[in-house]
């Protein structure tokens, strides 16, 4: 089925060629509707963001809104302090989470790959095991601990653990470090370079693509995180964008509060999804490589 249309097969008869054409036809007959249905929800999000209430409630649904109402993006953004939520998401959560995770995981991954020491591989098994540990088990005790530390309503419970490395990212970076030849480090060691020197001056410049992969994934996890902030943040002024959207939905559901609730909700959802989609398009190859290598999920 898959290779039937392959050119390696000699076109011995008309029948074979017809069969190949039929297979190709069937493939596209499946693929095109499939792709449309995958894309449709996101298309609907953007197109509904450009409508006003009468266009939302029309039957049959309006596929292409005419006229469009781009002002929804501004008006929706202003219903709640979304600029503040964006600041929280970026400055208080995403940036420190990415920096801390990448820095700590790099150092740990170096210790698990470029230095040979007894017990290393046994300990690395524990890293792999924590990758599979359901986080639900540690959720409650961690909450109790962070509450006891007085860290509720701050981003510390979400950001401080990043200083201790992330198992998936340690795993990915270790795989990359292992592919670099041993001679690189040995030459530097003979010259008297310290291990930290080797890591930062020799290994890291060679692993920029890997660092980009892990930074991207950590960015997405922090940006998309909903449950973490939901557990630790009560004070609305500290909300990240993910909780802000939920807040906007509640506001829009209170009947009579304001019109264009759905278009506003779709507009803000589009704005929040945009950095993720844009990053994906800018760094598509890096992404695909990262997923293929480790099975990381977005």
């Amino acid at each position: 089925m898959i290779r039937a249309a392959s050119p390696t097969r000699p076109p011995s008869s008309v029948q074979v060629r017809l069969q190949g054409a039929a297979v190709t036809l069937v493939k596209y007959a499946i693929l095109i509707p499939l792709t449309i249905s995958f894309a449709f929800p996101l298309y609907w999000m953007v197109s509904s963001a450009l409508k006003i209430d009468p266009q939302i409630y029309t039957i049959p649904p309006i596929l292409l809104p005419m006229p469009v109402h781009p002002r929804n993006f501004i008006e929706g953004w202003q219903v709640l302090p979304f600029t503040r939520y964006a600041f929280n998401s970026i400055v208080l959560y995403t940036v420190p989470a990415v920096l801390f995770t990448v820095l700590s995981s790099t150092i740990v991954a170096y210790g698990f790959s470029r230095i040979r020491w007894p017990g290393r591989d046994v300990l690395f098994w524990f890293v792999v095991m924590t990758m599979m540990l359901p986080w639900a088990v540690t959720m409650v005790p961690l909450f109790i601990t962070f509450k006891w530390l007085g860290w509720l309503d701050t981003y510390r419970p979400l950001v401080v653990p990043a200083l201790f490395g992330h198992p998936y990212i340690i795993f990915l970076l270790r795989q990359f470090f292992m592919t670099l030849p041993e001679e690189l480090s040995d030459a530097a060691r003979i010259d008297g370079t310290s291990e930290f020197g080797i890591l930062f001056r020799i290994i890291l410049p060679l692993t920029k693509p890997a660092l980009a992969v892990v930074a991207l994934f950590r960015f997405i996890w922090a940006w998309n995180d909903y449950l973490g902030p939901l557990i630790y943040l009560r004070d609305e002024t500290r909300y990240p964008l993910a909780l802000g959207i939920e807040q906007l939905r509640q506001r829009a559901n209170d009947i009579g509060n304001f019109s264009n609730g759905i278009p506003y909700l779709m507009a803000v959802s589009t704005i929040v999804a945009l950095p993720i989609i844009a990053t994906f398009f800018l760094a598509q190859r890096t992404f695909i490589e990262g997923i293929s290598l480790t099975g990381l999920k977005g």
């Binding site: 089925m1 249309a5 049959p60 599979m132 977005g298």
Partner: protein, 344 residues
């Protein structure tokens, strides 16, 4: 050697905080930590396993991985142990925990009015969404791996839903599946067809959430696609020479050679699906009539809405054991159907 503390050869930095170990010969190493006399003889008879260079590497290696060790102890080992303790108590964060023994567990299994329903919902959701998701991802990946134009375009469209913030997806799906003004029912209605109460009918709610889960399966598609591209072409050519058609090649070449990845996606899929929270919480909030009250939704509600930390911890441990059992069963069965051959 035998008289030395076990920790010494493995964790010197922990037991003797980085002093002269680098310069002194290995023979003198244990002397400071153990009683002299008897040990001396043992040491001279059996020198330390490690050369100075190995000691140095051990110290350096542990130094580099120390952030992870610390994090592992603080954020994994300690919470795991604490969770066992809390699961044996009644604890509402306001008053000190009251020790109950295994009461939380027995109550969950016997008299709790929701637990078995939550379990049923979760198993239903996991049992359908994971196998269907993996099969769909595998078939889509195969389709994308054949000779088609604009492959990366199709791949992109299928992958993007997996990385869009779950909150944004939840908002648009809730809108799409709305009974009155959702796009799907709008189309059905304009054709005079009966509407589908996706999220408002208990019989439809779970399948609807499964549909959303499959929509966000793009990562598995990309992983499968990478695996398919690693299958050596020569195997397909050999199969062609042997007279195998497309279907035979799919069954006897493609599936065996990608079976380790199928196993990987299955296991990761199960672990994720058992802990699904954001989409059910935002789309249906466990309703209608508790039909989408999945495990984590219920656990979250107990822990953070009702402040039943003990019960929530017990639930977490039950889930943990279920996931471990599931993973083990799949691993065990994998010996029958996963092919680890060649140079892989």
């Amino acid at each position: 050697m035998n008289g030395r503390p076990r920790a010494c050869p493995d964790f010197p930095t922990l037991s003797r905080g980085g002093d002269a170990t680098l310069v002194v010969p290995p023979l003198s190493l244990p002397v400071s930590t153990v009683a002299p006399g008897i040990q001396m003889a043992a040491v001279t008879a059996k020198p330390s396993r490690y050369t100075p260079r190995e000691w140095r590497n051990l110290r350096l290696g542990l130094l580099f991985v120390s952030p992870w060790i610390l994090g592992f102890l603080l954020f994994t080992v300690y919470p795991l142990l604490a969770s066992v303790y809390y699961s044996l108590t009644r604890y509402d964060l306001l008053r000190p925990p009251v020790f109950l023994g295994v009461e939380n567990y027995t109550t969950l299994f016997t008299t709790d009015p929701h637990f078995w329903n939550v379990m049923y919902n979760t198993i239903y959701y996991v049992g359908f969404s994971v196998p269907l998701g993996v099969v769909a991802a595998f078939l889509i990946a195969n389709l994308l791996n054949s000779r088609i134009v604009a492959r990366s375009f199709f791949r992109t469209v299928i992958y993007v839903p997996a990385i869009v913030p779950a909150v944004a997806s939840a908002m648009v799906w809730q809108f799409l599946m709305n009974v009155q003004y959702g796009a799907v029912n709008g189309v059905l209605r304009s054709f005079g067809l009966p509407i589908i109460p996706f999220l408002s009918n208990p019989a439809w709610a779970k399948p609807s959430l499964i549909l959303v889960a499959i929509w966000a399966q793009g990562a598995a598609v990309v992983i499968f696609l990478a695996a398919l591209q690693d299958v050596p072409r020569s195997l397909y050519e050999a199969a062609t020479v042997d007279g195998a058609g497309g279907w035979r090649k799919f069954l006897n070449v493609t599936i065996p050679l990608t079976s380790p990845i199928i196993l990987f996606n299955l296991i990761m899929g199960f672990i994720t699906a058992f802990q699904e929270f954001t989409i059910p919480w935002l789309l249906t909030e466990g309703g209608p009539m508790n039909s989408t009250e999945f495990y984590l939704v219920h656990l979250y509600r107990n822990a953070f809405r009702f402040l039943r930390m003990g019960k929530a911890s017990a639930m977490a441990w039950i889930l943990f054991l279920i996931i471990v059992a599931f993973t083990l069963v799949i691993f065990r069965s994998s010996a029958r159907w996963v092919y680890y051959g060649g140079d892989k």
